[in-house]
């Protein structure tokens, strides 16, 4: 049990508990805050894997923008922010059964992979992963097309959101 594994286990438990609380807590705002905790746990996972750039990007984009958007959406659409809906529907046991089956299937698939016990690969010294990411993102024989298509995707999201939000306005 190296320190790496202990920290990974702790973070995994944190993420799972936070995710569970997101769907079971009664107050919506608390659900959003538990989501923030889960996202932060994912950022720590990235840091453990030595993907420092992804860790900070996770905090900047997910916690700094998307979680804020969630909280705004919750606050703008609830009549009373202390709203509490019913916890379960009448056929919750079917859903639980399905969930357990999917979990069992996934665990079975993952365990039967030949190299599932692999530890994180050690990055060779002298390799600047950040710069490699940068050059890969803009090289014509690497990922420049997805790079540009990503901006078109963002444009589509922006135009769509502005169009829908403009429905209520009188212009």
């Amino acid at each position: 049990m190296t320190a790496d594994k202990i920290i990974f286990l702790l973070i995994g438990v944190l993420i799972l508990v936070s995710a569970l609380m997101v769907v079971t807590t009664r107050k919506l705002i608390h659900a959003a805050l538990w989501l923030v905790a889960a996202l932060f746990g994912v950022a720590v996972l990235y840091a453990i894997l030595q993907a420092g750039f992804l860790a900070v990007v996770q905090v900047v984009v997910y916690i700094g923008a998307i979680a804020i958007l969630f909280i705004f959406a919750v606050m703008l659409t609830r009549r009373d922010m202390r709203d509490q809906g019913p916890q379960t529907r009448s056929n919750w046991w079917i859903a639980a059964l399905l969930g357990l089956l999917i979990l069992a299937g996934l665990v079975f698939l993952i365990i039967n992979q030949p190299d599932v016990e692999r530890t994180a690969a050690v990055i060779p010294a002298g390799v600047d992963t950040l710069r490699n990411l940068g050059t890969a993102l803009v090289s014509p024989d690497a990922y420049v097309l997805p790079f540009e298509v990503a901006s078109v995707l963002l444009l589509a999201a922006l135009v769509g959101a502005v169009y829908i939000a403009g429905f209520g306005k009188k212009s």
């Binding site: 905090v59 900047v60 700094g64 606050m75 600047d128």
Partner: protein, 407 residues
């Protein structure tokens, strides 16, 4: 193990001494690392907290002088013990939690706000040998810590169960979030100029020429966005003492309010430090002077730390100067200024820097500097001309309207 060794490389000196001591006691290597880190972090955080206490005194004295009065001068010489008296008062005050408030979130919010600001000092380089870590994504780490601070404001505003606090929190978050775009875009400019995202690398790349001279517009835009991010005047509509009565922290009392206040001041000073590091050469930036043997003492870590603190204090003073000289800006003006002016302008400056960095790469240092500086000046002049033409058109349309109404 001499005094000269300590003066030239303090942290490694102490670390080696402690490692020798602890290995002698039989601790394992990993545990020693953790203990050393812990001690280093404690020293740094205590230093930062003492700095914060000093900042409270600086803020009150400076605002007093700006307003032509004396400021605190009763407690201790020049009122120096005033912040300590304030802390004692805040700690022994009753902690009033409003009825219906969400207790857990209410208590977490000030802790999160303080933590997000303290965590910034892990990457600020006080000198080439005194720093927390040399993170290779340090510039984005600054933005990430700001994101956590934004979250703490929403938590504080919502947990207070007070619609004015919530309104204030919303406005503050809309403000901070909008001005984050020009800030991040102008953060890209030192990254392009220094070709690295680590603050140590950016500081060392400025040993020849400050980035503020290479790209003054980037510095100005960063300065304005930083003031808006901090939520200070002239962008402090959300905690305007005369309007929304302290905004999102209206229901906070005692030490919790103390932490919101202290973290705001510390955040301002930290931003002064970042401005010093990103645009004014940080702990170095002596234009190559330190290579002369007569000025070799400039590379001493303690001198570098003093230079850094002095530059950060100057940045903090400039932020205070703006705060106490300008009137408040209305929320719709704030947001229009950001989205219709600062964001396009910062993108133009970014594109300009990227292109010129490539085109002028072959020139000698003075050609490069001159080219970059002139391009910024040209962009500034063109922007002012565009604004002037816009203003003239507005004025003319108002005049014709007034004319039509008179006839």
């Amino acid at each position: 193990m001499t005094l000269a060794g300590f003066l030239n490389d303090p942290i490694n000196f102490v670390a080696q001494w402690l490692t020798g001591l602890l290995t002698g006691w039989g601790f394992s290597n990993g545990l020693i690392t953790v203990i050393l880190y812990f001690i280093g972090i404690l020293v740094l955080v205590v230093f930062v907290m003492l700095l914060d206490i000093g900042l409270v005194w600086v803020e009150r004295k400076v605002v007093a002088r700006f307003q032509d009065r004396l400021g605190p001068n009763r407690i201790g010489p020049f009122g120096l013990i005033q912040p300590i008296a304030d802390i004692i008062k805040l700690v022994i005050k009753e902690d009033i939690t409003p009825a219906g408030a969400d207790k857990v979130v209410f208590n977490i919010a000030p802790v999160l706000a303080a933590m997000s600001v303290i965590s910034l000092w892990a990457i600020l380089p006080l000198s080439s040998k005194i720093f927390g870590v040399d993170l290779n994504v340090a510039v984005l780490y600054l933005v990430a810590a700001g994101a956590l601070g934004t979250l703490s404001i929403i938590m504080g505003g919502w947990a207070s169960n007070n619609k004015y606090a919530l309104l204030g929190a919303f406005r503050m978050v809309a403000n901070m979030v909008s001005y984050e775009i020009p800030m991040v875009v102008t953060l890209l400019i030192p990254v392009i100029l220094a070709d690295t995202m680590s603050v140590q690398g950016i500081t060392q790349a400025q040993s020849g020429m400050w980035f503020a001279i290479l790209s003054p517009l980037a510095f100005v835009i960063f300065f304005i966005s930083a003031i808006a991010e901090l939520g200070r005047s002239p962008f402090d509509l959300v905690e305007a003492e005369s309007e929304l009565t302290a905004g999102f922290n209206v229901e906070y009392s005692g030490m919790k309010f103390g932490w919101f206040y202290a973290s705001e001041l510390l955040h301002a000073f930290t931003f002064g430090g970042f401005m010093a590091v990103l645009f004014f050469g940080g702990y170095g930036g002596f234009f190559g002077l330190e290579k002369l043997s007569a000025f070799h003492w400039l590379t001493n870590p303690f001198i570098q730390a003093a230079v850094f603190i002095a530059k950060a204090m100057f940045g903090y003073w400039a932020i205070m100067w703006v705060k106490y000289s300008m009137p408040r800006i209305r929320i719709d003006h704030m947001l229009a200024f950001n989205w219709k002016f600062l964001v396009p302008l910062s993108l133009v400056v970014l594109v300009n820097t990227a292109i010129l960095n490539k085109l002028l790469a072959g020139l000698p240092a003075w050609g490069y500097t001159l080219g970059m500086f002139l391009s910024n000046v040209i962009i500034g002049v063109v922007t002012i001309e565009i604004l002037r033409a816009y203003g003239r058109r507005q004025h003319k349309s108002e005049q014709t309207l007034a004319q039509a109404m008179r006839n």
